[in-house]
């Protein structure tokens, strides 16, 4: 995580979980970066990564995805896995960050 902070990049996790649930997760896993709660999946929908009825009892949730957004607010890199088990490796995200200068 410090490799991201050294590059001036913040990592932000977003899900439909409530702040209390995310807090539990952060405590148990020792995560220190911001976790944001999108209970109605509004932002998730805007980014086009909604998984309709993907959660328990038909709840709309997010599909796994990573977006790199530059300081001007433009999306510069996107990673969309096709398997919930496989997420972007930190190396891949760092490589995308190092290409940002251009």
């Amino acid at each position: 995580m410090s490799e991201f902070h050294d590059r001036g990049v913040e990592v932000i996790a977003i899900s439909v979980d409530s702040p209390a649930e995310s807090q539990k997760l952060c405590q148990s896993r020792g995560y220190s970066f911001p976790f944001l709660s999108d209970p109605d999946a509004q932002v998730i929908r805007q980014y086009g990564v909604l998984h309709p009825k993907g959660g328990a009892e038909g709840k709309d949730i997010a599909r796994p995805a990573e977006f790199l957004v530059d300081t001007a607010g433009t999306i510069r890199w996107v990673n969309l896995t096709d398997d919930i088990r496989v997420r972007a490796r930190p190396e891949a995200v760092l490589a995308a960050i190092s290409r940002l200068r251009s």
Partner: protein
């Protein structure tokens, strides 16, 4: 002659159970063992091997070893558990919508205001102001 308890059958089955249940709490924590669950496949192989040796000796040498029935049942169960594991990995993990509707590089990132774990409203504009870039990680959550 006294017949021995066929320990290999039970040891093998135990390893198969471990192979099945260890994936989520242990091996998903490391990308190397998560993306392709080779550690669990190896455990299944080890458990299956032990079980196979146990069953073989129960049938070859029934005067010394027990476990013809238990071994057969556990062997069938192990095959089913392995099948369940493989199907879970190859099928259930991929039951997510395609990413074709997702925003693409070059498009503006929609601004947002969301609550953090302390219940405080956090605006994306504030996050961007203080950083060179942000990585938004959308995840399924634990609901």
């Amino acid at each position: 002659m006294k017949r021995h308890r066929n320990i290999l059958i039970w040891a093998g089955f135990t390893v198969v159970i471990v192979a099945l249940v260890s994936y989520i709490p242990i091996f998903t924590l490391f990308p190397v063992t998560r993306d392709i669950p080779w550690a669990n496949y190896l455990l299944f192989l080890l458990g299956g091997g032990l079980l196979a040796v146990g069953v073989k000796r129960a049938f070859r040498d029934p005067e010394h070893y027990r476990g013809k029935i238990a071994g057969s049942i556990l062997a069938v169960l192990s095959v089913l558990l392995f099948g369940f594991f493989v199907v879970s990995i190859l099928y259930f993990g991929k039951q997510i919508p395609s990413g074709e509707r997702a925003l693409r590089p070059g498009q503006p990132a929609p601004p947002f205001v969301l609550q953090n774990i302390a219940g405080k409203q956090v605006a994306s504009s504030e996050l961007l102001k203080g950083h060179r870039a942000v990585v938004l990680v959308f995840y399924r959550g634990y609901w």
